[in-house]
């Protein structure tokens, strides 16, 4: 890009991009954290509700597999939040007793779920296993012993996909801002570089005039200074022009 202002603006472009990226990444990070917390909180709430319903039956002395209402509760959970695609109730041995997908009944629960249920106490733990983000709550029987757990999960990539969408929107906004910022900076720097342009043009014109004025065909210059070590460029040009004129006269006299 010709021009000092254009080159300066190009030099600023990467810094502007860095500033935009830093600001965007900061908000994106924080928003992703908040969205993850909201999703995890939703799963945890559903897991809590399911656990409370099951522990009500266990408190009455029923065996986990005998609490038939559990399957209805699971089906309702799916209806309440369509993003939930995994709901499983597993017993103390880690075997799935009720599940959203009936084909999973009888299979072993994911080890991460079993560990989370065993370590969770009264709370809910959020774990990622087999590509699913799951809220896991432990189940207690009538005498407070471990009776297994409840896992409520969804696609772990959901928040990431949402973040990607918002990131795309941010990138588009940043691109617009970058262009606007560069245009504004170019305008400001063009105005600021005007004195430099004037000084440079004046200096260049003065230099060219100096060279042109010392043409042999031009007017006779003042006698040059005697000390060659102290020649200035202007005096040297004038002296050389005078010598050419002398040679011209010699040539003509011959």
């Amino acid at each position: 890009v010709p021009g000092v202002a254009g080159r300066l603006t190009l030099g600023l472009a990467a810094a502007f991009a860095a500033a935009l990226a830093a600001a965007g990444a900061f908000v994106h990070d924080r928003a992703s954290e908040r969205a993850e917390a909201a999703v995890a909180g939703r799963l945890a709430f559903v897991a809590f509700e399911l656990r409370d319903a099951l522990e009500g039956g266990l408190g009455l002395g029923l065996a986990l597999s005998d609490i038939r209402a559990a399957q209805d509760q699971i089906d309702r959970s799916i209806l309440d939040e369509p993003l939930i695609d995994t709901v499983a109730v597993f017993d103390a041995g880690g075997r799935i007793v009720f599940a959203r997908d009936l084909a999973d009944v009888g299979r072993p629960a994911a080890p991460a779920w079993r560990d989370a249920a065993a370590a969770g106490g009264d709370g809910v733990r959020t774990v990622v296993a087999d590509g699913r983000l799951a809220a896991v709550a432990g189940l207690s029987d009538a005498i407070g012993g471990s009776a297994g757990g409840v896992a409520v999960g969804m696609d772990a990539g959901y928040v990431g996909r949402q973040a990607l969408l918002s990131g795309t929107g941010m990138a588009a906004a940043a691109a617009g801002l970058l262009l606007a910022g560069l245009a504004a900076a170019f305008a400001a720097l063009s105005a600021a570089a005007r004195p430099l342009r004037r000084e440079a043009e004046a200096a260049a014109a003065e230099l060219d005039a100096l060279v042109a004025a010392a043409e042999p065909a031009g007017p006779e210059a003042a006698p040059p200074p005697p000390d060659p070590d102290r020649w200035s460029a202007a005096a040297a040009l004038a002296d050389l022009a005078a010598r050419e004129r002398r040679l011209e006269r010699l040539d003509q006299s011959a």
Partner: protein, 461 residues
Amino acid sequence: VSGPAGLVAAARRTGVAAVAAGAAAALLLAAAALAAAVAVVLPDLAGERERTAAVVATSVERSIERALALGVPFDRLAGMPEFLSRILRENPDLRFVAATGADGTIAYWEGVSRHRLQPILDAGALDGAAPVGGRADLVRAEADGFSILALALDAPAGPAGRLLVGTQPRQILEEAALALPDALRILAFAALLGAAAGWAAWAGVAGDRAAEAQSRLGALGGTRIPRLPRPPRRDELGAVEAALDRAALALHDRYRRVLAHAEEVRGAVFDADVAARAAEVERETAAAHGPALAEPPPPAALPRPGRLTRAAVALSLSAGAAAAAFLALGPPAAAAFVAAAAVVAATPIPRETARALGVVGALAAVAGFAGAAAGGAAPDPATAWASAPLVAGAGLGLAAAALRRHPARGDRATPLPPAAAAAFAAACATLLGPLAGSGALLVLGAAAALAAALSLPPAEG
């Protein structure tokens, strides 16, 4: 020519403008980006909260309707305050949960007070509320800054009232305001980066070349005007550079022309006296100007500030990011890095010592960083590893910057650019350090900083 002082002064004023414009524009852009990003994510976050509100509303509705189905009258539901209080405690994103009777009077509530909610309902906030979530029974309305989800409560005898769950989109902004100190750090970082880039771009584009032109214009006091060792650029300063080259070539050309003319006259005339006088002109010209003008103008033996600037800026930007990464490992590591940089930068030491210090520092930094990452000390090993090359680049850049010779200082390292770089690194570490846990921020910032260094104008010389 009276240009030098005016040219350099004008170039300096342009430099001040570049630094100010860089800092101000980067600051404003970062602020606008923060606002735009918040505007982009706000609907998503509000949507997530509403999904939570819908799940909670359905669950609470089911619990209440179960009690109503067992024959418990709506106005005698036991334990409702405790139940709703637990619901709000488990879902901090919700602002209130309330249940109204069939006449629209709030009977149970938790969160926002009944005195505030009742007038909202009495004003007909739920009239014409639109169904959401693909469900006919779940409707949503906005009133008084709240987003309210409502579900009809049914009893065996008929409609018993409504369950209301409210979120407050403004709450997200209030939570975002808590991150204001961190946002201010981002803004300060942006301003610092913009100022540094403005200074660096000015030094490479105008500052160093104005100094060159001043030096060559000063040479007009003698007759040996050095030529620029590259073609003049096509910009404002390029006009002066080209005029200086033309003047330098004109001097040599005129000298050669006088000698050639004298020889031509000597060879062409038959008059011995004229030939002798032409030979005398030739001798006098050679004696007066030969030492300076017999050879074509020499290429300028100018300092190479462009290269120096590039090295310093590459160093300063990458060191800033690296120092921030270091802070992720703890302040002592960052302090040690910046202190070592400052020692090397501030001391005009012999080149060999600077080289050794720079290389040893870089290797030590990489080893320490890798050790910390492998040992799990870093909060995010992937970020730590991604930043390791930056740390190495910072150390080597430091050495490179310190190694450049400056004519005025002879065989000594030049302290100013590395010192400025160390100060820049310290400032960046202070500003970005507390945010270093944010991996995306650090990697993006570091990558953009490197891009900034690489996009600078090419080095001179």
